[in-house]
Amino acid sequence: MAKTATTTAMNAQTVYADGGAIRSPWKMAWRKLRRHKLAMIAMWVLIVLHLFAIFADFFAPYSELTTDRRRTYHSPTRVHIISPEGKLTRPFVYGYTRVDTLRNLYEEDKSVIYPIKFFVRGDKYSFLGLESNLRLFGVEAPGKIYLFGADRYGRDIFSRLAYGGRRSLFIGIIGLVISMSIGLVYGGTSGYFGGWVDNLMMRVAEIVISIPGFYLLLALSAILPPSLGSTERFLMITVILAFIGWAGLARVIRGMVLSISKQDFVTASEAVGCSQPRIIIRHILPNTMSYVIVNATLSIPGFILSEAGLSLIGVGIQHPDASWGNMLSEALNLTSLTRYPWLLIPGFFIFITVLSYSFFGDGVRDALDPRAQT
């Protein structure tokens, strides 16, 4: 119950901390978090990844759908800084020629040099209603730069990683917000009312928990009609993921609310005539906040992994839209996997993201945990 007491204190405006300085509990938590080195590194990694995805149009040299049939499975282009004459120059790439059409083998053609240019005009895009074609880097027309290689259709994997990040990263956050809201309201209502309402609501939640999540995901993805547009499909998959996630959270919140609602301040607010929704939303749920925040950061990876898993096996985000999961699906073919190992790169991005979220979440937990004194 130590947790409850401190979070109650957190909602008060100010607390006197060391030396009489007035600091809000949130600021104290932030100070604690900043001292957690690993969590801070993880936070910066996450910020960079999310910016990379949001401004994909700018960071990616090509658009998501730009294909090149003459450069299928192009190996990653090497970036050189030493010119053929042996001098240090600005970064450049050589032209490539395909030496084996069947196996998609490419070799550098040292006679053609394409210097890497910055802030170039490339494929057109519209971002927040702004039409533009400004891209961070690129090479002159017949040349191509594939930092992470190309896929089956000669699409740039680096660019698709940026665009795919929009779906893969934000599905976690949006799905989390949805399932959190359902879980909070559901668990809060169930715990507050107790009795048969609680009993019935928890049985329903248990049914959802009792079906292995991934199986349920697969079955639900079968509902989606194939005619859905890409935005609708993305939203529907987010909703499905949220549908799986809310029940576990609701159960924990209900337990917390059950114990909180027996405390004196709830009786007091009942006595002054607060309405029941007001008591649940304004008085009880804020006390579960520190748990919810920790749980939130730690459950985003679950959403990202579920989306990746679904898209990997072809029932999530559909081609030609990129997502980190469906980019990996080409690697499911053993021949492609061994010949073109760069197809695995999106997996490392998923791994880094998940790792960062868990380090960050651990840091947040330590920062918000009143028992951990530093």
Binding site: P212, A219, A222, I223, G347, V354, L355
Partner: protein
Amino acid sequence: MFRYIARRFLYIIPMLLGISSLTFLIMQLAPGDALTTMKLSPDISEEVYNAMRARFWLDQPPHMQYIRWIQQLFKGDMGHSFLWHAPVTWVLRQRLFNTLLLTLASTVLGWIIAIPIGIHSAVNQYSWSDKLLTFVAFIGVAIPNWFLGLLLLYLTVSRGWGFPVGGMTSIDFADFTFWEKTLDLARHMFLPTIVLTTGIVASLIRYMRSNLLDVLRQDYVTTARAKGLSNRVVINKHAVRNAINPLITIFGYQLGGILGGAALTEIVMNWPGIGSLMLNAVQGKDYYLVMGNLLIGAVMLILGNLVADILLAASDPRIRYE
């Protein structure tokens, strides 16, 4: 204790009813029905199609279909798989064994590896070996099973390690002697088992370490030390026994995750279990198979939780069930 187990078993029945109705509802929402693919097939005549519809009560309203399905379920008939042209129960039985084999082997192996490592980590907290192991465990938790599987497949093929990269048995399996069969199966199981075990080991190490650390701070451990007991006895007889108990519950909770992880691993590594079966069923709109699969998955999860609770009650005298 007996009454508790009996009550838990009785409780499974309404749960299954709920799960089956949810499953049925989901399948109702899906476009078309179990026979839509059949209708489109030129090989099947109108009469056969209509006869099939009547046999599976698909011409009835949904609630009648559900009742029919439940009735058949009690007779041990889960309907017909149109992909396999066989009863769903038959298909599931084949695959269920494979999945259980894989998950049980990985779980047992995972516990055998993780518990000693967790103990070592906690006893030598903040030593370099603890830091290294904790870090490795962190990575093990963060790396998705299926991605580890893909990496292992890539390494196996490109480095020429002699492990089979898919399937469960060799083509000439039927001609093998018993020992050859065992060896062949073990070789095929090797890669998927490593993948699943890694995930289990990584999370168990973290739980075991933090549980044991909590227990080591307790007063009775100090008392035991004060009595002059050797460090080994204090840890093995007093601390570890109490630290393992919560892990049993965690195991019950994690079962769903293990099953899900196993499903993706099965698909990526071509292991013929119920996970890969489920994908085929969903893609082929084989609705009876999907429903049967969901139900079996839920039963496994519920039974796993039940076993975990009973084990916990049996091992921890502080827990009493009335």
